[in-house]
C-alpha cells in the first residue's frame, strides 16, 4: 500500500506522515515528493521548519525544477518585515492564493501540496483551527479550479498529544502513516540500509478503515522500497529458524536415548515418590481408624503363658 500511495494510485486526499525523534519521517515525505515530481506534477512545498535549500538536499535536479517553494521559514512572525508567509494568519484562502498564484489561473494539471511541518503550525494555532483551515483549503482549491491531487503533511507525534493524528484523520479523511524503527539489524531484501516500519491507517470515503503494516527503506535518490513480509535479520526477527539450528544431542549414538510414544506415556503415568497425591492423602487420613491389625500365629515350640509374669512382685 505504501508504494501505491507513493505512486499516486490511491484516491486523492490528505496523507499525514507521523514521525518521532527515534525515527524521522522527512525522508519518506521526500520520496513521495520525488514520485509526484517524476509523474510530471507540480509540487508546492510550504516550508515552516527548514529552509528550501535544506529541504532540497539529496533531490535530483529534475525533481527540483518541479518544486515550487513557499517560504514560511525565514520570517514566520514578521519580525524582519520581509513580507513572507505569515504562520499565524495562514488560512485556507492564503494557501489557495499561494498555489493559485503559481498555477496562473484554473489549471487541469494536477499538483501536490506539501506542508513541512504541521507541528510548526500547531505551535501557533489549535488543532481544531488547523483542521478547519485544511478543510477550507481543499474546498476553495476545488472551487478555484485547482487540481490538488494530494496534500502531504509531516507531523512530529512526540510534540503533541496522541489524539492529534486521530483528530486529523477523522475530520479530514486522512491517511495516517506512522513511522517507527524496526528491530535492530533488520533489512529488506536488496537493501543494505536499516528498515523502518510504517503503520498505515486509511479512511476511505465509504467509511471503511483499512489498516496495514509494512516495512520500508529509502535509498539514495529517495527511492522507496517496501515489503509486507516480516524481515529476517541477524537476531532472527521471524524466530522460526532458531530452534532447528541447534544440534540434537541424542543423534549418532551407539545406544538409544530416545523414547517411543508408549514409553513416554507410561513414564508420565508413574507417580513421583514424594509427590503428595490424592491417594496418599486419603491413605493417611484413614490410617487412624484402627484398621491396621497384627496377626500372630504361634509355632509349636512357642511357650504361651497366660499368667502375668509380674504377679510375684511386692512393692
Amino acid at each position: 500500500m505504501l508504494e501505491s500511495l507513493s505512486r499516486g494510485l490511491e484516491p486523492p486526499g490528505l496523507i499525514l506522515i507521523a514521525d518521532s525523534f527515534e525515527c524521522e519521517g522527512r525522508s519518506l515525505l521526500k520520496s513521495f515528493v520525488t514520485s509526484a515530481a517524476l509523474r510530471g506534477e507540480c509540487v508546492h512545498v510550504f516550508t515552516f521548519e527548514l529552509s528550501d535549500v535544506e529541504f532540497s538536499i539529496g533531490l535530483d535536479d529534475g525533481v527540483r525544477t518541479r518544486l515550487q517553494f513557499h517560504d514560511g521559514f525565514s520570517d514566520p512572525l514578521d519580525w524582519e518585515q520581509m513580507g513572507m508567509l505569515p504562520i499565524r494568519n495562514l488560512s485556507g484562502q492564503e494557501l489557495v492564493g499561494c498555489v493559485g498564484g503559481v498555477e496562473a489561473g484554473p489549471s487541469q494539471q494536477p499538483c501536490t501540496v506539501v506542508l513541512d511541518s504541521l507541528s510548526s503550525l500547531l505551535q501557533h494555532k489549535p488543532i481544531s483551527q488547523l483542521a478547519r483551515d485544511l478543510q477550507d483549503f481543499q474546498q476553495r482549491a476545488a472551487t478555484a479550479g485547482l487540481t490538488v491531487r494530494r496534500l502531504l503533511a509531516l507531523l512530529h507525534t512526540d510534540l503533541h498529544p496522541p489524539e492529534v493524528p486521530q483528530v486529523l484523520g477523522v475530520q479530514l479523511g486522512t491517511t495516517v502513516i506512522t513511522v517507527t524503527p524496526s528491530p535492530e539489524g533488520s533489512r529488506l531484501p536488496g537493501s543494505s540500509l536499516p528498515s523502518n516500519m510504517a503503520s498505515i491507517v486509511q479512511r476511505r470515503k465509504s467509511g471503511k478503515v483499512v489498516r496495514q503494516e509494512e516495512y520500508f527503506t529509502i535509498e539514495i535518490g529517495f527511492r522507496l522500497i517496501s515489503s509486507v513480509e516480516p524481515l529476517l535479520g541477524k537476531q532472527g526477527v521471524a524466530g522460526s529458524d532458531s530452534v532447528s539450528v541447534q544440534p540434537d544431542p541424542a543423534a549418532h549414538l551407539p545406544f538409544n536415548l530416545r523414547l517411543t510414544e508408549q514409553e513416554r506415556e507410561a513414564r508420565e503415568q508413574v507417580p513421583l515418590p514424594y509427590h503428595f497425591s490424592t491417594e496418599k492423602k486419603m491413605l493417611l487420613l484413614h490410617g487412624g481408624s484402627g484398621d491396621a491389625r497384627i496377626y500372630y500365629q504361634p509355632d509349636e515350640s512357642d511357650d504361651v503363658d497366660e499368667e502375668d509374669p509380674d504377679d510375684d512382685l511386692d512393692f
Binding site: F21, C23, T217
Partner: protein, 233 residues
C-alpha cells in the same frame, strides 16, 4: 547537565565571530574557565571577535534604569508573555557583520535556555526565538548554534520537556550529559551520550548514538569508552 559546556565550545571556534549569551554566570566565571583551556575571552572581546551578553548584570540594569530603552535585549523581563524579538535583534546585529570581516563564520552560544523558562518566558516564545536564530545564523549566515538546555524528564516539567523535544527535532547533534547511575565515582565524573541525528540527508538512516564517559581535570576533560577508565585498566 555539565557545568562548563560553553568554554569548551568557545575553544573550538577559533577564527569565528562568537556571540555568547551568558545568562547564568558572570563574564569573569567564563573567562577563568576558558583561561584554563587556553582561551582568552577578554582579549577576544577587546578585538571584537567575541560579543558577550552578561545576563546577570544587563538584566538588572534593564529592570532598574528608568529610561525607556525599547531595544534592550531584556525587554521581556518587564512584560510578561512578550516575545524575545529584542534578544534576537541583539544576536542578529552582533553577528551580521561577519560577512564583511575576516572572521570565518558566526557562532551563537547560549547558556542556558532553561533559565528563560524560569524567568517567565513561555515555551512558544523560546522556540520562536530559536527558530529565528536558526533561520538567520544557520541558514543565512551558514554559522552554528551551541545551546545548553536542562533535561527535566524525571521532574515532569512539561514546558521544559516540550522545549527540549522540539529543539531535539531541529538539532543535528545532541550531547546529553548525566551523572553515573551508580553514584559518585572518583575517576569517572559522568557519562556523555552523543546522538547524531539522521546523519545522511540523501537517504533514510537511523540516528547514530555513541556513549562515552569522562573525567574533568584541571585544564582538560578526558573522554573514554565505557569500561576503559584509567582506574579499571
Amino acid at each position: 547537565m555539565t557545568e562548563q559546556p560553553c568554554p569548551t565550545a568557545v575553544t573550538s571556534t577559533r577564527g569565528c565571530k562568537v556571540c555568547f549569551l551568558g545568562l547564568v554566570q558572570s563574564f569573569n566565571h567564563y573567562s577563568l574557565v576558558a583561561q584554563k583551556l587556553g582561551v582568552q575571552l577578554s582579549a577576544a572581546r577587546e578585538k571584537g571577535q567575541l560579543v558577550f551578553l552578561e545576563g546577570l548584570r544587563s538584566s538588572l540594569d534593564s529592570l532598574l534604569t528608568e529610561q525607556q530603552d525599547s531595544r534592550s535585549p531584556f525587554e521581556f523581563l518587564s512584560s510578561p508573555d512578550t516575545s524575545l524579538n529584542c534578544l534576537y535583534e541583539f544576536v542578529r546585529v552582533s553577528l551580521s557583520e561577519t560577512s564583511e570581516s575576516t572572521w570565518k563564520f558566526p557562532v551563537l552560544i547560549i547558556d542556558d535556555l532553561s533559565v528563560l523558562l524560569s524567568l517567565g518566558v513561555s515555551a512558544v516564545n523560546i522556540l520562536n526565538f530559536m527558530h529565528y536564530c536558526r533561520a538567520t545564523i544557520c541558514s543565512k549566515f551558514m554559522g552554528n548554534i551551541v545551546m545548553l538546555v536542562h533535561n527535566t524528564e524525571d521532574l515532569e516539567d512539561e514546558e521544559n520537556n516540550f522545549v527540549v523535544k522540539s529543539l531535539s527535532h531541529q538539532c543535528h547533534l545532541i550531547l546529553q550529559v548525566e551523572g553515573l547511575t551508580t553514584g559518585y565515582c572518583k575517576d569517572i565524573h559522568g557519562q556523555l551520550t552523543m546522538t547524531c541525528r539522521s546523519p545522511s540527508p540523501v537517504k533514510s538512516e537511523r540516528n547514530i548514538t555513541k556513549i562515552f564517559q569522562y573525567k574533568v581535570q584541571d585544564k582538560n576533560v578526558n573522554f573514554f569508552a565505557r569500561g576503559t577508565s584509567s582506574s579499571v585498566l
